[in-house]
């Protein structure tokens, strides 16, 4: 009797389980399809169309959707990635495996990591296709901003197209400046540091330190040779250079209350410092995304940022600046549709609508700059420049042409070294001067392990 009951129970269970298994199987398939195709479903539907697998990050989603809409003849398999940011090595991990098994490479990929051209174009990855030897015409390449191909160029070969430049400018808040009694926008690092005391007296800040961008902001922006490839396989990492030590001394002299150790995109930065940023030497894309300005705007509608020229070292100092981020578009040399993939990359990097309306950063492709600036100015995210200070267009255009070319892309991630090895020193009260030495030691070790001859 018991056995009969149990058989019946099993049958009943089986009747329920069958459809549930089917649902589960469909759910799995749908999951695979979703993760595999992502937003590519927009372009799906015709197996006869050529297929492009495109890796994108969240910020590039609107551009990709526009591309899919504009190219109904291309079947796009869109795969959301992290952009390989912060030196995570996501792309390197994937390519290492694809190279071993002989398949799996995407056709087109977007990277947020500045050193990816130096890494992915060279052994052992050997993936990025050379674009300036027949794939992309000289006339197109010639319209990109001066120096924008620096991070994409290794030994005269261009391996990527810059999406945006991410050059640093001096962001300033006219409303807070008036409140703190600062009457003019600083143009030199020294003036900026001197204003720190006035800002601190009112509980405001003139920037931050102690995040992975320190090197890109302060040291790249003062021609400090911490990542200077002088010839193939030879790198200069010289923290004792005057350009490095003078900047470290200047930063160490600014009160920590005015230049706190903080990360702009931490969960609490907005609530802690959002409405207190008087100045911030940072990337062009930051203007519209400074966290926490909402709280400042609620009491002061004018509490928005305007862009000034990048700071120089002393009056009449060389006009140079660094860059934080800036995306790169790659074509995989393993693509079966090299021409189509190249056309896609060119479309992403140059299309006027995509670059001016759908991309958060300043276009590296010169002809799109004016439209981008016009879109930004119409957004209401920026303050009216102070009298005598440059317009948004003037600040961006000048900075775009002043990115110091001596900060070279290397196979290892400088920002990762700074974050893990230097930030703890700064967070626990250490100095920038001490941090420089730590960075140079660790970067030197990594450079040597990557086969560089290191000069210091």
């Amino acid at each position: 009797m018991k056995e009969k009951e149990s058989t019946n129970t099993r049958r009943r269970r089986a009747r329920w389980l069958r459809p549930m298994r089917l649902v589960a199987a469909f759910a799995c398939l749908a999951g695979v399809s979703f993760t595999g195709a992502g937003i590519g479903s927009l372009g799906a539907g015709a197996s006869s169309k050529p297929t492009l697998t495109i890796w994108y990050d969240t910020a590039r989603k609107p551009m990709l959707q526009a591309y899919i809409k504009a190219h109904p003849d291309v079947h796009v398999v869109a795969v959301l990635k992290d952009g390989d940011s912060n030196g995570d090595g996501t792309y390197q991990s994937a390519f290492a495996l694809y190279n071993r098994v002989g398949h799996g490479w995407p056709d087109v990929y977007f990277s947020e990591q500045n050193n990816d051209a130096a890494s992915l174009s060279q052994p052992p990855f050997n993936d990025a296709a050379v674009l300036n030897k027949g794939l992309v015409s000289k006339s197109i390449l010639g319209k990109f901003a001066h120096g924008s191909a620096g991070l994409c160029t290794i030994g005269g070969k261009v391996y990527c197209l810059r999406n945006d430049l991410a050059m640093n400018v001096l962001w300033y808040n006219p409303a807070l400046m008036a409140q703190d009694g600062i009457t003019s926008v600083p143009t030199t690092w020294q003036q900026w540091a001197a204003d720190g005391a006035m800002a601190a007296a009112h509980g405001d800040i003139i920037g931050t330190q102690g995040d992975s961008w320190d090197a890109d902001t302060f040291y790249w922006g003062n021609q400090c040779p911490l990542s200077h490839v002088t010839s193939p396989g030879v790198i200069t990492i010289k923290p004792t250079s005057t350009n490095c030590t003078e900047m470290a001394s200047l930063l160490d002299g600014v009160p920590r209350t005015a230049l706190p150790v903080a990360y702009m995109f931490s969960s609490t930065f907005g609530s802690q410092y959002g409405g207190k940023i008087v100045f911030y030497e940072g990337a062009a894309w930051m203007g519209g995304v400074f966290p926490g300005l909402g709280s400042c705007k609620s009491t002061n509608p004018d509490c928005t940022m305007a862009a000034g020229y990048p700071l120089t070292w002393g009056s009449g100092g060389p006009g140079v600046t660094g860059a934080i981020g800036g995306g790169l578009w790659f074509v995989s040399s393993h693509s079966k549709h090299l021409k189509l993939a190249t056309a896609a990359v060119v479309w992403f990097a140059t299309n006027s609508t995509a670059q001016s309306k759908l991309s958060p950063g300043y276009p590296a492709y010169g002809p799109d700059d004016a439209a981008y600036v016009a879109t930004q100015q119409a957004s209401g995210n920026y303050a009216t420049p102070l009298s005598g200070a440059p317009t948004l267009a003037q600040a961006f255009n000048k900075a775009a042409n002043e990115i110091w070319a001596g900060w070279s892309a290397v196979p290892y991630a400088n920002d990762q070294i700074w974050a893990s090895d230097v930030v703890p020193t700064l967070a626990s009260g250490g100095t920038q001067a001490a941090g420089l030495g730590i960075f140079a030691g660790d970067a030197g070790n990594l450079a040597r392990s990557d086969g560089f001859q290191v000069h210091s």
Binding site: N86, R100, S212, Q416, A419, A427
Partner: protein
């Protein structure tokens, strides 16, 4: 009479009889077949996902990238890497903290549970076991909130200790403690339940005899219970040592979630991952993996040998 410091756990059949188990009536042939089926399944999985990858790792570690026997060059290059020793130092510190905490706190908690009334004990066992459900990546997310002074429910405590932001919590000298806390939090519950089970296996007559001989709760725990569950403790330490040397998820995820505050080569396993996937040198990475395997085996062998774990008395 002084209770004997060395006692043995009665064998399963004795316990089963005492518990009145009825399943012991099954024919021996059937039970033997079931045993082979269960062991067979395990052996297949062990071969596929244990032995075969290990053999492949050893093969990679002893060959060159392009092929050919490499002798010890992969090992030499790995040991010569400037990140190799610091990575092992980090994990050594982490293991020391974690294993000492395990060997003391888990036993203390298990003994306390064992002395509680059954219903109260069940409630506590459930409570202790709960965090185990949030193992791996989930526990890292929980702890990122717990450790960020600006978000944590313990922010007053953290601020009182001088930690005003997460950068200060995640200083390099704190990391072994933090990862040990994470590992203890997720792993302790399971081991407490295991130890509790082992303690339940001690015959009541033995504890009763000790009580009659005048042993108080502390003496009973120290002289009777602990010696009887010693092998379980050793088993726990062997698994913890092997697992701890392979620490990966916690430092990797904390590093990624904090924009790189923890180095991506903090632990030997991370270093192996970096060398395999960022430098695309699977052979050198395999040399580190094989070194970890040897370390784990040596640690286990030492404990087995010193504690006579496999001796049947």
């Amino acid at each position: 009479m002084t209770p004997s410091p060395v006692a043995t756990v009665p064998d399963e059949r004795t316990s089963a009889r005492r518990g009145g188990r009825t399943g012991g009536d099954a024919p021996i042939g059937t039970s033997r077949t079931s045993g082979y089926v269960f062991v067979g399944l395990y052996v297949v999985l062990l071969l596929l996902f244990g032995i075969a990858p290990t053999a492949y790792a050893i093969y990679l570690a002893l060959t060159k990238v392009g092929g050919g026997f490499a002798w010890g060059s992969n090992f030499a290059r790995a040991y010569d890497d400037f990140r190799f020793l610091p990575a092992f130092e980090h994990v050594g510190e982490y293991l020391a903290i974690w294993m000492i905490a395990e060997a003391t706190l888990i036993l203390v908690l298990a003994l306390m549970l064992h002395s509680l009334a059954r219903r109260t004990s069940a409630a506590f066992r459930f409570l202790f076991y709960m965090p185990g459900a949030l193992a791996g990546a989930a526990s890292v997310l929980v702890w990122l909130f717990m450790l960020d002074p600006t978000l944590s429910p313990w922010h007053l405590l953290l601020s009182g200790m001088g930690f005003s932001q997460i950068d200060l919590v995640l200083l390099p000298t704190h990391l072994p403690f933090i990862f040990a806390i994470m590992a203890f939090w997720t792993g302790a519950g399971g081991w407490i339940v295991v130890m509790y089970g082992a303690l339940n296996n001690i015959p009541d007559e033995l504890l009763e005899a000790a009580r009659l001989d005048g042993a108080n709760a502390f003496q009973s725990a120290l002289r009777i219970k602990l010696p009887l569950i010693k092998k379980w403790v050793v088993y726990m330490l062997i698994l913890s040592f092997a697992g701890g040397t392979q620490l990966f998820v916690e430092p990797q995820l904390v590093g990624q979630a904090t924009a790189g505050l923890v180095s991506n080569t903090w632990s030997p396993n991370q270093l192996a991952y970096y060398i395999a996937f960022i430098n695309d040198n699977f052979n050198e990475a395999a040399a580190i993996s094989v070194s970890l395997l040897v370390l784990g085996l040596a640690g286990a062998a030492l404990l087995v040998w010193r504690t006579k774990l496999f001796e049947i008395s």
